[in-house]
Structure formats: C-alpha cells, structure tokens
C-alpha cells in the first residue's frame, strides 16, 4: 500500500519531500490518466503521494512592475480569468482542455509533467520564464526552457517542489497564438505556435518565437531570433527553425504536417506583421 501525505504548509511538504521518495500530486489531471486503473479501484501509483494542491503558499498570482509570479497550484482557469494578466499568457491556458479540466489542472503540474503536448510550455518558453524550485535546503531558479529536458523529463531533484513560475515583464506589443488539434475544442494539440513582438514606431525591436509539440519539448532559440532581428530575413528564420525540428510521426499527427504547418503559420504572421 502506498502512503499519501497531505501537509498543511509548504515547510511541512518540503520536509516530507526530503525524507520520502514520493510523487508530487498537484491538480492530477495528467497523473490520474497515466496511472489509470480499473474503475472503483485505487490508481496504480507505485510511489507514495505528496498532495500539494491545498497549500495556500502555492496558490497566489502576483503581478508587479517587474514580473508576474504564478504559484505552482494556481489553476488554469484562475489564469484564464485573471484580468491583470496579459492576454498572450491567458489565451494558451484558455484554449487548454475544457472548463472543468481547467478548474483542476495547475500551472506547475503542466510544467513538471512535461508532456510533449503541454500547451503552457511554448508561452512560458517564449516569455523567458523561470521556475522556482524549493527544498529544505533553500531555493534555486532556472529558465523553464532549461528545466524541461524532454518528454516527461525535467531537471527536478527528488527533494524539490516546483513552487512558482516567474515571468519577467517586457514590452510586448503584438502577439500571435495558434493551437491546432483534431477538433475545434477540448483536444490535445497537434502543434502550437506563439510569436511575441515588440515594436517601436513600427520597427521591430524584439521578438520571441516558440513552437510546441513538434519536438519532445518546445522549440525556442534566442540566437535565431537575434539573427532575424538583425537581418529581417524571414526565409532564413524559417530555414533555421526547420533545422531545429526533429519530431516523429505519432498517433496525433505526422512529422511533416507539424513542421510544415507550424512554419507556415509563423511565416504568414511575420510577413503580415513584422
């Protein structure tokens, strides 16, 4: 029999996490599916469980002039419904799953689970967000795009809990987000694309591009973006992004479809807007 822990404070949770090899359970909307088992029976967890959904320390959204801080257990619908958050952040969350799922699924869960289809990762990569990881020994930060290593793989240590995501504020003036699935709503993505632009007097001064679901983790490359800012050469940008693609055919879509379509979407948007 596995043990379940439901601490009341983050401090307590970190102590448990330090002592016991356990699976951290936030919203559970991915975990419950992966550990599915006969109806009416327990899920087939092989580790002890540490529930963190109830921790008030992890449920806050803070917005300041410098940054946005999202608690790990903030639900997707809380982001969707928070009028203080920018639309380019809210939209990807709003298009995930369905209303009931978004009431349960969390910001942190979607990151640590690190599914290839995780729709929050492209926007969090594009925004240069950082994850905050805490253990009883202290706190460390790292860029989300480095934290996520690959499909279902992250750099989390066995004694750590992802507690927050920090998003630095920048002066994005335009954005484009498109998610493609095999039906219009309530579907896992075949691919998603986010482009953020900063323009001053019609001059493009900054941009960020991220592509989800094509590779095991979203594509984001600062060098390619910098090159484009200097050259303005769209075709070169597209070619360079294409070189980063290393996906596979799977049951949801084909490698060719994902690559061709995501690049066409970016190209089409930039041609019209940069």
């Amino acid at each position: 029999m596995i043990q379940s822990y439901r601490p009341e404070t983050l401090k307590e949770a970190l102590q448990i996490r330090n002592q016991i090899d356990c699976t951290v359970f936030a919203g559970g909307t991915d975990l419950y599916i992966r550990k599915r088992q006969w109806q009416g029976a327990e899920r087939r967890f092989d580790n002890d469980l540490l529930f963190i959904h109830q921790l008030s320390e992890l449920r806050k959204i803070e917005v300041s002039d410098e940054e946005i801080i999202l608690g790990a257990c903030v639900t997707q619908s809380e982001i969707e419904g928070d009028a203080y958050l920018p639309e380019f952040l809210r939209m990807p969350y709003r298009l995930m799953g369905n209303p009931a799922i978004r009431n349960t699924a969390t910001v942190g869960g979607n990151i640590v689970n690190a599914a290839q289809v995780a729709d929050s990762l492209p926007v969090l990569f594009a925004l240069d967000s950082q994850v905050v990881l805490q253990s009883i020994h202290g706190e460390r930060k790292m860029p989300t795009m480095d934290f996520v290593i690959g499909k279902y793989k992250t750099g989390i240590q066995t004694n750590e809990i992802l507690t927050h995501v920090m998003i630095p504020k920048k002066n994005w003036t335009d954005f484009y987000y498109r998610k493609i699935g095999s039906r219009k709503q309530n579907i896992l993505s075949k691919l998603s694309v986010i482009v953020l632009l900063e323009k001053k007097n019609d001059d493009l001064t900054n941009l960020a591009i991220s592509i989800g679901c094509v590779n095991e983790k979203p594509i984001r490359d600062h060098e390619i973006e910098q090159g484009f800012l200097e050259s303005g050469a769209i075709n070169q940008l597209i070619d360079q992004l294409y070189d980063k693609m290393e996906g596979q055919n799977d049951k949801r879509s084909s490698k060719a479809y994902r690559e061709i379509t995501s690049l066409k979407l970016i190209k089409d948007y930039l041609e019209k807007n940069s």
């Binding site: 559970g28 419950y32 599915r36 369905n98 209303p99 009431n103």
Partner: protein, 154 residues
C-alpha cells in the same frame, strides 16, 4: 481513513483514501449514480460535479482535494428550481437520447449560467466543450440551452 466533506448540502464522512477518485466515492460510498464514468480521463464530462461551486471532472479529482469542501452532484442540483427549468427545456426540445451524458450536460449548463453573463453562440459552445454526446449531434441540446437562457436570464 475518514474524509469529511459536504455532499449535496449534508455533512458526510467518507471511509476512503486521499488518492481515491471523487467519482468512485460518490458512486460507490454514497450510491449517487447520476454521476457517470464515460471516458475516465476528463474528456467526456459524464462525471461532472461542482466542488466548492467549481465545475470539475470527478474522475480527475482525488479525495485529497475534497477534504472539508462542498460537493454538489446531479442528485443535489436536481432539487433546485433552476434544475426544473433545464429539465423542461431538455424534455421539450428532445435533447436526450441514450441519456448517459445528460446529467453531466446539465451540470455544464448550470456552470454556464453561474459563470457567464453574456451568452453568445461561441461562449455557449466553449462552455459545453467538455461534454461529449455520441447520440444527438448536439443541436437539440444547444436549442434547449438557448431556451434555458431565455427563461433564466432574459
């Protein structure tokens, strides 16, 4: 272990575990079988209930999330006046066929009424996007929802 919560307005205690699904508990411990298991992965909406007034898929909610909270199932909601309006609209429009998805649909309609103030076609459809029906092609359900909105809101 014992997990206390409120079920359809009554304080109850479930003899279960933190990792058990709310769906299994309302169905098996409390015999409330109006909440159905369709897909068991949060896609179909047959298992929708309100948890502290938020619509959730009870197949994806562990009992740990339920401790001390209010759970409302179709059996509880069916006692309300607004339920009567929804029931009548679904009946009049012929929105029901096999019926397996319908209690969940009803909960989603109530959630739409509770959470939205404007009821465009887009908002209605997005609100109902987590409810799959394999029989009706949705049109008569949509028509029933429009009638409900007219009666309740306008």
């Amino acid at each position: 272990m014992k997990i206390p919560f409120q079920l359809n307005g009554e304080p109850v205690v479930a003899e279960t575990t933190y990792s058990m699904r709310l769906l299994d508990v309302v169905r098996n411990e409390f015999g409330l079988t109006g909440t159905k298991e369709g897909c068991s992965e949060g896609e179909c909406g047959a298992c929708l209930v309100f948890l502290d007034n938020k619509l959730v898929n009870s197949c994806m909610v562990p009992m740990s999330h339920v401790v001390g909270k209010k759970v409302e199932t179709i059996e509880g909601f069916a006692k309300s006046e607004r339920y009567q309006v929804i029931e009548q609209a679904f009946q009049n429009h012929g929105a029901v066929q096999c019926g397996f998805c319908i209690p969940g649909m009803i909960m989603a309609v109530e959630n739409l009424l509770r959470t939205q103030t404007v009821f465009t076609e887009e908002i209605i459809k997005e609100s109902m996007s987590g409810n799959i029906c394999r029989c009706t092609g949705y049109q008569l359900i949509y028509d029933a929802i429009k009638t409900v909105i007219q009666e309740v809101v306008e």
